[in-house]
Each structure stands twice: as C-alpha cells, then as structure tokens.
C-alpha cells in the first residue's frame, strides 16, 4: 500500500510528524495488516501444509518403499525405483488402466463439450422457457456423479435393461453392454456425456456475450450458418471452450465412481473399465500395496500436470483474446 492510498482521518488535522516517526507508524500498520492477513489465512495454511503439502511429500517418499498399512512406516523398506519399474514393465493391468483412461478422456471429453455447445446454441436462440430448459439440462450434472446414477446406468445397459428394449423397438437385438469388454467403456463414456449440463451453462453465458451485430453483418455479406459458426462463434467462444476443455479433461482423468459401480469394483470385464484411479484404489486399499499405489499417484500427478501445461501452451495458438472478445 502506498502513502497515497493510505486512508487518513480527514476530521483531525494531520500534525507534522518527523519522518522517522511516520515510518514507524507505517511499519506498525503494515505489521497489523500482516498479522490480520495471516490470522485469517491460518486455517487454509494449515490445510495446505497438513492436508496437501506434507501428504504429497510423504507419498513421494512412500513411492520408493514397500510400505503397507499392515506394518508401521518405520519398518517399511526402501526399494528404490522398484515400484516404478514394476509399474512400467511388470504390471500389465497398469497399461490397461492408462489405455482405458486415455481413451475415455480423448473420446468422452470432446463429445461432452460438443453436446454442451450444440445444446447451448439451440438454447441461445430460444426466447421463452430458457431458464427452465437450462435448469433441466443441468440436472444430470448434479446427479450424475452419484452411486445411485451409476446403478441406474448399470441397470439400463444390462442384458434386460431399458436400452435393449429401445433397440428391440427397431427390431435390433442388444447384449449385456456392461459385461462386454468392447462396450463397457463406451457405456461409461455415455454416462459422462450425459452430464453435459455444467459446461453447457458456461457456454451459454459465453454465447450471450457474442455481439449479434457480427451475425447480422455477416448475413448481409451472404455468409451461411456454417461460415458464421466457424468464423464468428468458434473464435469468439474459444476462451470459454478452452476453459471447459481444461476442466473437463482434468475431471475426465479422475473418473472413479461410475467405473467402480458398473464393474462392481473390479475394473472388469478384462480390465476394460479399469480407470487409473480405480487401479490406484485397488493397489492401495485392496492389495494394501501403498508404496506401489503412491508411485502410481505421483506418475498420475505428473502426467495430469503435463497435460495441463500442454493444453495451456497450445491454447496460445487457437484461443483468441481480442479487445472485443467474450467478456
């Protein structure tokens, strides 16, 4: 805070104060603000240290040990890079988990964003009932992460579920989708896409900021709907698309509940729904191999961090921030 910003009491005339004295008062005030700041921040600081930083360092250490909750930490052995070696070369399920997670994120996230953008654009031009529609489309985002919804999904895509009834309507015969190694993962993706409401709400807010004059001007110039979409909507919306992409990607990598429920905790059939976090959970809390699971967690952290960095650095090439940009 500079002197100019310092609030002075206008009611009392400010007496001339010796410079040294004034410095002392400024220092005192600064100390008081420091004290207040850190006092208000203290619960968060404690959490940062105790719930985030120390556990992170602890898990880095544990990833080089054979720690298991069955023995005290002090009696676990330093095994060097063994956990990492095993992960990359001796655990086929690990690579299944990586594959499943990458496929899930690469397919489900863009489809979810496409659905969100599509419905947002339909809604944006609708005048009446927009709040009701918006709310109802958003509802799955609130419910979809729950165990209850995963159970519903399990029921819908089982052999005698609603989806097959729908297919038989068209004379098609379905199968037990969740028990099929090829189709179990797409079933999970569908559940993720079903929750497109949250990014849709954000897209809708972004679309509201696009000036309508741009569309009118381009209509005068004879541009069709596709040209308008690719030359006006997409560029102007790119900051919002980027924001949703980062959030949904990070979120997509962490899918656990639906995979756990639909495979009954196994990641099956044949590892086809073994999301990374599910494999980590099984290693740590079922096999009680916490050293190994810690190594998995750190690789996960590094990869997700790397992907975030890559997203941000490629963002420079396709995200447009102009003066007349969205918001």
């Amino acid at each position: 805070m500079t002197m100019a910003q310092m609030p002075v009491r206008p009611t009392e005339p400010v007496p001339p104060v010796p410079a040294a004295h004034r410095r002392g008062r400024v220092a005192r005030r600064r100390r008081r603000e420091d004290l207040a700041g850190y006092l208000f921040l203290s619960p968060w600081l404690l959490g940062l240290l105790g719930i985030t930083a120390i556990p992170m360092l602890l898990s880095l250490y544990l990833s080089f040990t054979d720690y298991s909750p069955l023995i005290p930490v002090t009696e676990s052995n330093w095994v060097g890079l063994e956990n990492y070696r095993r992960m990359f070369t001796a655990d086929p399920s690990y690579w299944h988990a990586v594959r499943v997670t990458v496929i899930f994120a690469v397919i489900a996230v863009p489809l979810k964003l496409a659905a969100a953008l599509g419905v947002a654009m339909l809604l944006n031009k609708t005048m009446r009932g927009i709040a009701l529609f918006r709310g109802l489309f958003y509802l799955p985002s609130l419910l979809g992460g729950s165990v209850a919804l995963a159970i519903v999904w399990r029921g819908m895509f089982s052999g005698d579920g609603a989806f097959n009834a729908f297919l038989s309507f068209f004379g098609l015969t379905g199968k037990a989708w969740i028990n099929d190694p090829t189709w179990a993962l797409p079933t999970l993706m569908l559940l993720a896409i079903w929750q497109f409401g949250a990014p849709m709400v954000i897209f809708l807010a972004g679309l509201k900021q696009v000036p309508t004059e741009l569309y009118e001007a381009s209509s005068v110039d004879g541009a069709g709907a596709w040209r308008k979409f690719f030359h006006i909507t997409l560029p102007l919306l790119s900051p919002v698309i980027f924001f949703n992409l980062v959030l949904e990607t990070i979120h997509g990598f962490q899918g656990f509940t639906s995979a756990f429920v639909i495979s009954n905790g196994t990641g099956g059939p044949v590892d086809s729904t073994l999301m990374y976090t599910l494999h980590l959970y099984k290693a740590g809390f079922v096999d009680l191999n916490m050293g190994y699971a810690s190594a998995m967690a750190w690789v996960f952290l590094l990869v997700v961090g790397l992907i975030t960095v890559v997203l941000f650095s490629t963002g420079r090439f396709w995200v447009h921030y102009s003066d007349s940009e969205v918001r």
Binding site: P7, P55, M56, L122, G135, L136, G155, D160, I202, L301
Partner: protein, 277 residues
C-alpha cells in the same frame, strides 16, 4: 417461424432423452421383481411400493441410519467449508499482507490438483493420528473441510468479494474499523449469496461423494448412503433390483430438492467460477 418450431422440437427431443434415465429409475423402483424382467417400459403395470420398505430393511442396519450418517457428514462439511473458505477468501481477496500474491497463486495451483493423488498419504496420516475407524470414523472426511482445502470455494468467494466495492472497506477504516470489524460488519453480511452457493454445492458434492467415504468407512453401521448402495450390487438376484432402485431414488431426493429450491443460484454459481456440478 419454421426454424423456431424445429429448434424447439429438437430441444424437447434432447430433453426427453436426457431425462429418460431419471424417469426410468422412478418407474423401476415401483416395479415388482417379475415386471423388472418383463416390462422394460417406464410405467409399472403393478404398482409395488413395497420395494421401499424392503430396501430400507435389506441389510442388518436400516437405511435410515445410512441417510443420517450421510446427512451428518454433509452438514459438518457445509459448516467447515463455509467458515474456513470465507476466512481464507477474505485474506486473499481483500487484505494486503506480505506474500499474498504467492499464496494466491498456490491456491490457484491446488484448484487443478487431482485429489485422488493424495488419498493414500492422507489415509496414512489420519491413521497415524488414530483418526481412522473407531467410534467416530468421520473425522478424516470432515477435518480437511475445516481447513479450506476445497480451493474451488475459496476461489468462488474471492471472485465474489472482488465485486464488493472497496470504498465500503475504506469508509469503515476511516471510521476506525480494523480488519476484523470490516470482516464482521462489511464482508460477512455482503457475502451471503456466495456463502449460500458454497453451502449448497458443498452439501450436494458431499452427499454424492463416494471415493473418500469408501476408503474411510469400514463398519456397516458407519456407512453413508452411497457406500451402502454398493452393497446391493453384490447381491444381483432379480428380487433385489426393485429395492436397489427404490433406495437409489431415495438417495437422490435431497439433491433434487436442493435443485428445485436453488436452481437459479446453482446455475449462477457455476457461471461465476466455472465450478463443476
């Protein structure tokens, strides 16, 4: 005019598909075991409300206990999140102190930190402290929320507080207020909308949360509703499908009620901060 009709029809069709699973759940939870296999439509021919009583008493502990456990964890989490995140947000958003920018950047960094990474060392930490299991096994689920570890809410409140005119603080300071009385008399009353949004999202997310509760709860009587629901999956006999859907449906009722009551606030909440629902 024609395009308007097409658009509206498309929206209604998509909405019907999106809401179908919810109606199907509603219908199935009232179907008899025989009907679950034969009638896959929405409406049960034979209305079977007995599924609810059967599901409620399916396990050695009644489902009411699981709901109470869930409600307790969620309520305490709401309390912890609103208090601790408000304090942190006031410091980061309104006060000037040394290293504030550094802490703010760290807070943003933890926003993107995948929480599953920390579950194992946190588990070990809480176990070392003797907080895992025992008579009250919920502390590891609750304590982190009293320490503002949910950075989303800190961020949401910082964003909100930036919208409160600074002149209000300055006027109060001129009147002799210190940072504590500014907090008490200016920021706290004006932050109510952000507090309500945080409270609702905290409740819904904790109510739906599964991963942590699965890790920390091992006794049947301590189970929360989501953990208890997974017990149904183990017993996959036809007869338990109706009760399973009935209890699943019940477990979504609180979330649905919150949605109905606070729909606008929730939608605005994700807009200001990009919160995930």
């Amino acid at each position: 005019m024609r395009s308007k009709v097409v658009r509206l029809s498309a929206l209604i069709l998509i909405l019907a598909i999106v809401l179908y699973p919810l109606f199907w759940m509603l219908g199935t939870s009232f179907k008899s075991p025989a009907e679950i296999a034969s009638n896959i439509g929405l409406v049960p021919h034979q209305f079977t409300p007995g599924n609810f009583a059967e599901g409620w008493h399916k396990f050695d502990v009644a489902f009411g206990r699981f709901f109470l456990n869930s409600a307790m964890v969620a309520t305490l989490t709401v309390l912890g999140n609103t208090i601790s995140c408000l304090l942190a947000a006031y410091a980061l958003g309104r006060l000037r102190f040394r290293l504030r920018g550094f802490w703010f950047a760290l807070m943003i960094g933890t926003l993107l930190l995948p929480g599953h990474v920390l579950i194992i060392p946190q588990y070990i930490l809480f176990r070392t402290l003797g907080l895992v299991g025992g008579d009250f096994p919920y502390l590891p689920l609750i304590v982190p929320h009293f320490l503002a570890t949910e950075a989303f809410f800190v961020f949401l409140m910082v964003q909100f507080m930036r919208g409160i005119p600074r002149e209000l603080d300055e006027a109060a300071v001129i009147d002799g207020a210190n940072p504590f009385s500014v907090f008490r008399h200016v920021i706290l009353p004006l932050s109510r909308p952000a507090l309500v949004t945080t409270a609702i999202f905290s409740f819904i997310w904790t109510w739906n949360d599964f991963f942590r509760q699965l890790v920390y709860l091992s006794q049947l009587k301590d189970y929360t509703a989501p953990v208890a629901l997974t017990l149904f999956i183990d017993s996959t006999s036809e007869s338990s499908v109706g009760p399973m859907f009935a209890m699943s449906l019940l477990s979504l009722v609180p979330v649905f009620l919150f949605f109905v009551a606070f729909q606008r606030l929730l939608v605005e909440g994700i807009n200001t901060s990009g919160l995930k629902g």
